[in-house]
Symmetry: C2
Subunit: 370 residues, 2 copies
Amino acid sequence: MEYRPGLEGIIAAETAISFLDVEGEEIVVRGYNLLDLAEHKTYVDVVGLLIDGLLPDEARRSELERSLVAGSAVPGPIWDILRALPPSMHAMDRLRTAVSALGGFDPEVDDHSPEANRRKGLRALAKVGTIVANLHHIAEGRAPKEPDSGRGYVENMLAMITGKPASPAEVQAFDRSLMVYSEHELPNSTFTARVIASTMSDLYGALTGAVASLKGPLHGGANEAVMHMMLEAGTPEGMEALILKKLAAKERIMGFGHRVYMKKMDPRAQLMKETLKTLVSASGDAEGQKWYTLGEVGEAVMRREKGLYPNLDYYAAPVYYVLGIPIELYTPIFFAARTAGLVAHVVEQHAQNRIFRPRVRYTGPRGLKP
Amino acid sequence: MEYRPGLEGIIAAETAISFLDVEGEEIVVRGYNLLDLAEHKTYVDVVGLLIDGLLPDEARRSELERSLVAGSAVPGPIWDILRALPPSMHAMDRLRTAVSALGGFDPEVDDHSPEANRRKGLRALAKVGTIVANLHHIAEGRAPKEPDSGRGYVENMLAMITGKPASPAEVQAFDRSLMVYSEHELPNSTFTARVIASTMSDLYGALTGAVASLKGPLHGGANEAVMHMMLEAGTPEGMEALILKKLAAKERIMGFGHRVYMKKMDPRAQLMKETLKTLVSASGDAEGQKWYTLGEVGEAVMRREKGLYPNLDYYAAPVYYVLGIPIELYTPIFFAARTAGLVAHVVEQHAQNRIFRPRVRYTGPRGLKP
């Protein structure tokens, strides 16, 4: 049998959740183009689409919003656990620990029926938003910000993160970023969640594994690496010089290319680029405009030098920076958004399960005697 | 492309660590037959073989033992975190949370070099043993038992679990069980660890994901299910009646069959069966003898009725029961033993990495408009 490192090109699951149609340049989410959804709907609609299986009507949308906000208070012991961890611990590692602990406070943790998994999924999503929004507050010794029942789920998350009210333009930009991060077929973290769920282990275990996966710099960690690179560059001219220096040193430039999209533009990157433009135009802030120009310069240099296009992380990073979000939260926010998709995959895996158990090609010695 | 549910028969990794030679009926671990190792060596030797890459000589063996015992004290905040979790939380879910938290106390957490991964692996293994041995003490409100520097790593773990000194026969039986649980090619939990590590995420994240996987009743959770079935049966006659009743009701009988071994006997099961016999003979205890006879009866009934052979979990369960180990610790002990193999796989994955990113077959609708 042929061995494909990283299972590249191997079909590992049947799914009705999403599909990257590379030829059609479309990210299909339950039949819809994700970019259409991002233009016409909100994150909470996409949550309904992913977890319920269909776009919510007005009544269901209000119910989802209400239950997400009502369920977003986090049990006190979770804060105690986060406080017991060293403040220097990577934010994703603290999030991983908190998501694991959350399972202990869900009375349906070991009920794997689709209905229970959906209920648990919404409860987990509600609380993950609050935890993510408070990772830096806890690490810096502040009391956790509480969700406000007068605000929506997405507005709450952004306001808890920054500690101040968010403008409608800011909420819309943040909401769009959550939509485009919500689901993406079978990336490493989603695959991890399905592999874990296939032992009939529980939803929280699958989510915990996904946090661990998403931390990696080859996966979710890329959005933070992009922002650090942009800050190091400092100016549009600095961006060109920095990329050329890194290319000369054969260093990897984060935020470009994607195994599945190959040499095409990630359509989510284009949407985040437009979102960044709208956001900095709305604020009229010269500093914001600088990041947009710097991003465009980097994009042009990489297309010219390597024929590579930006991926989602490349433009999500400056959007989050302009929104005033601490860099260490970029990957945790990616996870919070993706929780909706992960829940859908665990529901599907548990409902039509076959345990993942591949084989190896053994390259070691044989016949040794102890 | 052909879709194989559960990646059955697909080669997902090249490895020099281990291989299930089904035709040769041999579990190969770095060139040795695992059963030979179990007969002639100890768990700490196998730890050296897995993590260092070769069987330790006398000096290295002493050094490994010393460092495992010296490193087995657990940071105080880990106990605080375990105390903050509900005592009713599944022992594997509490272990998952503690292993995740441990990453915060390792200064080399984000160094993925083989040397750093090996050092972290030994530190993690040392502490996991102590955590596992105390999950029930913490849940029942007792102070954690401390490792005793005058005892070996394996003896310490058993004595902490039961709260009393262990006889040489008991230590040997427990040590053998750890050896046969230490490594087994690419089961779901090891695959999970490699998938997570392939994003260049850290060792503790990979181990945390493996705990989540191993909890599942289709994987590590099986050893606990076996013991509950044996206790429900109560007597050898009861075992035959219970299995026949379950088969008539088309219920799954845990502890039999294995995807890779198919219709052959798991060689580890035979070793655990012999270990159980030796253990109950040494103690001269009639109750112990009963579990051995009950196990044999169940084995004969399943061979006669279904042509299925016991797997490792089937005989490990009564060994642990006779050793006085609480049932909720059986799967955590499996994880503690397997930590050695998991560390070896993370070292190997990080050293020759390609991110796991398979594809899907999409079965949902297309062309919907929001």
